[in-house]
């Protein structure tokens, strides 16, 4: 695999995290590699603008230009999970740990960009003037969200 190909793939990843509302934080957290790739990605992006259009590229969310929620540290999941509750009364192990994938990387949009229907349910929480809503449909799908609000680390579960 050529360096150019690797760089291109990294740029694709970079572009995808670029739409993330935590972009500023991620920019900081991407260390040595990120710094090396940044000029390459900028170049590639500029080339893309001059060349043919890229239909797969999503337009930036309006939210990217508005205030961002509290930056959230990246979570690294342990590779080996050894849970020892099998002998516990009333406990039934059914699927592997994280078989239903929790949210370790919550991403956010502002109210005007949220693709929600008016009558669907959300779990809402406020702290220090900050407000966050978690659509119940997504909570049913992911069950657990590790997040922070107004400086308080919270666990949202359904």
């Amino acid at each position: 695999m050529s360096i150019k190909k690797v760089t291109a793939e990294a740029c694709t990843y970079y572009a995808s995290v670029g739409t993330n509302r935590n972009m500023r934080y991620r920019l900081l957290s991407l260390s040595f590699l990120g710094l090396l790739l940044l000029p390459a990605c900028s170049g590639s992006s500029a080339q893309g603008d001059r060349g043919s259009s890229n239909p797969s590229q999503e337009p930036p969310l309006l939210a990217d230009r508005l205030p961002t929620p509290t930056p959230f540290p990246r979570i690294i999941v342990p590779e080996i999970v050894q849970l020892s509750a099998r002998d516990l009364p009333d406990y039934f192990a059914s699927i592997p740990p994280d078989g239903i994938r929790p949210v370790y990387d919550p991403r956010f949009a502002n109210a005007q960009d949220a693709p929600l229907q008016p009558d669907e349910l959300v779990m809402g929480v406020t702290e220090n003037g900050e407000a966050k809503a978690y659509p119940v449909t997504v909570l049913r799908f992911r069950e657990i969200v590790n997040d922070e609000i107004g400086g308080r680390p919270i666990l949202v579960t359904w």
Partner: protein, 207 residues
């Protein structure tokens, strides 16, 4: 909704993949102990017995939430996966409140029909209000004074001072208590069968 700190240390939680009393369990990344969701407590492993602080939250429609909190952020993970399969209020939902070991639960529909429920839980005066897929649980005590409320044609007025209250926001908007707020209390929204599993001694309110 919990604070995920124990003694000042922030914990990260995953899905343990098992059921304890038919309800979800978590594992924490640091000690890989098992936690039970409805009680927010470790039931096994190094952290056994530790309990997360339950936080107040609201379960309501997006429209209601957005109106009260226009500056809100919305989590957008997996929006593409959920499609048109949206969740609405369910007839089996109960609003559960536990204070100092005393637990009460109320069917959402019953609270909505009653409009307002005033009760003492764990020796604290509590107000539970529900209307149009929106509910609140408050401590109905202001300036050391316990309040009772009357609904006068859609306007909530406390019997002690005659102040008018915006019950959605829990703030007095007119009268002697203008600007005072009611403290939101943590509650648990649950299916009635799950509540009965964890709080078998607690009756579900039936007006």
């Amino acid at each position: 909704m919990h604070d995920r700190r124990i003694n000042g240390e922030t914990f990260v939680f995953g899905n343990a993949g098992g059921l304890y009393l038919r309800a979800m369990t978590w594992w924490d990344h640091k000690t890989q102990s098992i936690w039970s969701q409805p009680i927010g407590q470790a039931i096994n492993g190094e952290m056994e017995g530790a309990r997360l602080e339950l936080l107040p939250f609201q379960l309501t429609t997006w429209k209601n939430w957005r109106t009260v909190h226009p500056q809100t952020f919305v989590m957008i993970n997996n929006q593409q996966n959920v499609g048109s399969n949206r969740q609405n209020f369910d007839g089996d939902f109960v609003i559960g409140v536990e204070i100092s070991g005393e637990a009460f639960a109320y069917y959402y529909e019953d609270v909505e029909a009653a409009g307002l429920i005033e009760v003492e839980i764990g020796e604290l005066p509590v107000l539970i209000w529900a209307e149009k897929e929106n509910y609140q649980v408050y401590l109905r005590k202001v300036q050391e004074q316990t309040l009772t409320f009357t609904n006068q044609g859609g306007v909530y007025i406390d019997d002690q001072t005659g102040s008018k209250w915006d019950i959605v926001h829990g703030i007095a908007v007119d009268g002697p208590l203008t600007g005072e707020t009611l403290k939101p209390l943590p509650s648990l929204t649950s299916y009635d069968w799950a509540w009965k599993d964890f709080y078998p001694q607690s009756d579900i309110y039936n007006p």
